[in-house]
């Protein structure tokens, strides 16, 4: 049960982006389209699960003094593998994400989870934590990119990342004349981020108050 709670926390309550404020640079930069966000989310999930598993497996061998360089080497290796895979199988995604795939190495979520969780817990727990945090990140970037893409272009467009000719969803939600191009620019990213973070904050506060009340009743 505890394991499942850990997994669930990463989704909303301890959402890495909106609640722990980790890995925000890439969040702001890649959320211009839902496609990018899904691709980035998938890459982060994969790196996060694998790095958590490996780091958890070697946590008893690694000397404490040099653990950060060791973690970085592991993460960098994994990111390089993922980057090469994306380059080979989803070249369109690779061009649109560009430098932000290699930059997953320095994404605070991954090192943060390695430090805070994987180096202290077992392999299964760490894998589950990686999945939960990765899904939380994906959820955050997809929510942001959905808002930004729809407001800025009015069109929701999702294509198959492995074959860009295959369009899965392409619907016009807002007519061209009523779009707000501002949301395509950095300003829009910050505004969207702030509003979503505020909503999550309000939800957390509400949940805490409810929990406190339940405690009182007991």
């Amino acid at each position: 049960m505890n394991r499942f709670e850990n997994f669930k926390a990463g989704l909303i309550k301890d959402n890495p982006v909106f609640s722990l404020y980790l890995g925000i640079c890439s969040t702001l930069a890649i959320t211009t389209t839902v496609n990018n966000a899904i691709g980035m989310g998938a890459a982060v999930i994969m790196v996060l699960i694998m790095s958590n598993v490996i780091i958890s497996a070697i946590r008893k061998i690694v000397p404490d003094e040099i653990r950060i360089p060791v973690y970085i080497v592991i993460i960098a290796t994994l990111v390089k593998i993922i980057q090469m895979l994306i380059e080979a199988y989803a070249p369109a995604l690779n061009t649109s994400l560009g430098v932000f795939i290699p930059l997953i190495v320095v994404n605070c979520i991954i090192l943060g989870r390695a430090e805070a969780f994987a180096s202290k817990h077992g392999i299964a727990d760490s894998a589950l934590d990686g999945l939960g945090m990765g899904l939380g990140y994906t959820l955050a970037v997809v929510a942001m990119s959905f808002i930004r893409e729809v407001l800025a272009t009015g069109v929701l467009n999702i294509v198959n990342p492995f074959n860009e000719a295959q369009v899965w969803i392409n619907v016009t939600l807002i007519p061209e004349a009523y779009t707000i191009p501002l949301f395509n620019s950095p300003v829009g990213a910050f505004v969207t981020f702030a509003f979503l973070a505020a909503v999550i904050g309000a939800y957390k506060k509400h949940a805490d108050e409810k929990a406190a009340k339940a405690e009182e009743v007991k």
Partner: protein, 387 residues
């Protein structure tokens, strides 16, 4: 014997915030009526109605936003609205727009100005940025092309920025610019197509004098702001070697040109003087206005933007807390500090003028294409620049 103890301040002025805001609103509406009369006489009733429609859109949006905010924060609606003065923001914002703007763009800009620029900071008196300037920046950034095809001529600021680099050097070049907008007198009176309220330089100055006499706005800010712009541009004219225009030496006509084009007078009188977002001490206000003038000239001459007034206001608003805290305390004791800061700003202003005059090529020959092209925001601005 009886002692009365009151919490300071013990001397109260007769003016209340309500009175100040009422006077400001009347002043703004005078300019707006000028605009309506001009558009009605020059283009027909339809344009006048369009201006009124835009103002109505902005006002209603403000009202809706504030009612929702008051409901959400569980405040009584009527007192909240009466003490929020949202209408001043929406009138200023409407007057900063061109009449060609779509109502939709104005509504979105108003939402940004009221909700993000003002309410999220805690409402009237808490905002750090001038809310109208926030809305104006949104229009600049997002709706540069969102215009209906009512009046399609370019404004003087876009023309002078894109074709003449703000430096028409010879009388012929200046004439070719002025004839597009009906000469100096037309620019001063505001009888040309531009932002709805910003063009009426003389009317705005008159309203500003009345408001300053009634102590609604602080006279120091517009005087220092416009004076500094005039002096800096005069220095630029002298260094760049502009020629006299029909007997008027360059250091007189060039500052005048800067003052009558674009929104500096409107911004100086109505936006920089916003009591919420500028420093409280007199010395602080002088430094604030001087900084804004330097930024305005720098943005006008060297930046990719056609107009610098708006961004200079937003940037100086960020410096307000710094000015405020550094000039805190006994004003007589810190007088020396104020003089040093003032001298530093003056040197900076001179440096900016030198830099601008030395690095911009004055336009001495007429270009063949006389048609004014609308200013296009360069691609670079829209690119993601995060890492």
């Amino acid at each position: 014997m009886k002692f009365n103890f009151h919490v300071s301040p013990n001397i109260k002025g007769k003016q209340s915030t309500q009175n100040i805001m009422r006077d400001l609103t009347i002043g703004l509406l005078v300019i707006f009526v000028c605009a309506c009369i001009y558009y009605a006489s020059a283009y027909g009733m339809r344009y006048c109605m369009q201006a009124v429609l835009l103002l109505a859109c902005s006002l209603i949006t403000t009202l809706v936003c504030e009612v929702i905010y008051a409901k959400a924060t569980k405040q009584p609606i009527k007192p909240f609205l009466a003490h929020s003065f949202g209408w001043v923001t929406s009138i200023i914002l409407t007057m900063m727009c061109q009449i060609t703007i779509t109502p939709y763009a104005l509504i979105i800009a108003t939402v940004f100005a009221i909700v993000i620029g003002r309410l999220l900071f805690g409402g009237f008196g808490q905002n750090i940025f001038n809310p109208a300037a926030v809305g104006g920046a949104v229009i600049f950034a997002a709706f540069a092309g969102a215009t209906t095809d009512l009046v399609t001529s370019a404004t003087p600021t876009t023309t002078i920025a894109s074709e003449f680099h703000w430096l028409p050097a010879t009388p012929e070049v200046l004439d070719s610019f002025l004839e597009q907008f009906g000469g100096f007198s037309s620019l001063a009176l505001g009888t040309y197509a531009g932002a709805i309220g910003e063009t009426f330089t003389i009317a705005i100055l008159l309203v500003g004098i009345v408001l300053a006499l009634r102590h609604v706005i602080d006279w120091r800010i517009p005087v220092v702001y416009l004076g500094a712009i005039a002096i800096m541009t005069a220095v630029i004219a002298l260094i760049a070697g502009l020629e006299p225009y029909h007997g008027v030496p360059a250091f007189l006509w060039y500052p005048a040109l800067h003052l009558v084009t674009g929104g500096v007078v409107f911004g100086g009188v109505f936006m920089l003087t916003d009591p919420v977002t500028n420093p409280t001490s007199a010395a602080g206000r002088v430094l604030f206005a001087l900084g804004a003038a330097i930024l305005t000239v720098l943005l006008r001459m060297k930046a990719n933007l056609p107009e610098g007034c708006l961004y200079s206001i937003l940037l100086m608003n960020m410096f307000t807390p710094m000015i405020e805290s550094s000039l805190d305390g006994n004003q007589l004791k810190i007088a020396k500090k104020v003089y040093i800061a003032f001298a530093c700003f003056c040197v900076l202003a001179l440096g900016v003028s030198l830099f601008a005059a030395k690095t911009i090529e004055p336009v001495t020959t007429l270009r063949t294409s006389s048609s004014a092209t609308a200013y296009v925001v360069p691609e670079v601005m829209n690119e993601e620049v995060f890492l």
